[in-house]
Amino acid sequence: MSYAKWARAVITGASDITDLVSTRVTPYLRNRETGFPCIVYSLPREDLETVAGGAVQTRHVELQVQCMSRSHVEADEIAEEVIQHVTAQTVTDDTTGTAIQCVEAVRPTSIDREFQDSYDGSPDLIYITTVNLTLTGA
């Protein structure tokens, strides 16, 4: 079971998202070898519902998807595609066909917007629209 695999598989499996960001999808840090637009995703926290015997029954996972672009509008467009396509589903291993992770419910909870100064002298800023989602699964 891996929410990290789930997040990557779902984001990179949606053609509406990859049409915008191509393969520029990385966990936690932007790949500085490549340009924009891109997506950086992170899973900063899980809340576990655990019964007296210690077995974890349900997990609530925070997923943050940062959509980065040189254009404010494009960053928002990517974020909208994330909201549309990061939905409840089971992700399976391409090789074995076994389930890697099933997420039963996805709730987009908020969007944060910010910008960073250009690091390369470009007159265009780096716009970041972050979609915060809560995943629920086993």
Partner: protein
């Protein structure tokens, strides 16, 4: 894997011929009733109180929902129905094609309260009472 509220879908199908199912955008669900009152059968020689349970109260389900287009009129219409409709609360377990019905009963809509406020979504509280007349 525990059943999780996030994955539930609640639907009410009205009793009228051709009535369409109304799927509710549920934010919370509670069930009440299901309690049996004490009937006191203590007599003078007893040293402790004796009770037997009476008949259970009718089952009631209350949902808080965010209203979508058209649904307020639908649910207000259900308030005038004499026959009960069908309430289904379904959940699809993780990785399974089988949908489990957590609730599947004949019920009336017995209360509908619509509220809204500035900068808020219109929300409604809908109460269903189980139809036990056929049992």
């Amino acid at each position: 894997m525990a059943v999780n509220f996030n994955g539930i879908v609640a639907t009410f199908t009205g009793p009228e011929s051709g009535a369409t199912a109304s799927t509710m955008a549920v934010t919370s669900h509670s069930e009440s009733g299901n309690s049996r009152p004490d009937i006191d059968i203590t007599d003078a020689g007893d040293t402790t109180r004796k009770v037997i349970p009476g008949l259970a109260e009718a089952e009631k389900h209350t949902f808080e929902v965010v209203m979508g287009s058209g649904t307020p009129a639908q649910f207000k219409g259900f308030l005038t129905d004499c026959d009960s409709g069908q309430l289904v609360v379904a959940y699809t377990p993780c990785g399974s094609e089988t949908t489990t019905n957590l609730v599947s009963i004949d019920a009336w809509v017995t209360a509908f309260t619509l509220t809204g406020e500035l900068d808020g979504a219109y929300t409604a509280s809908i109460e269903f009472t189980k139809d036990n007349t056929g049992s």
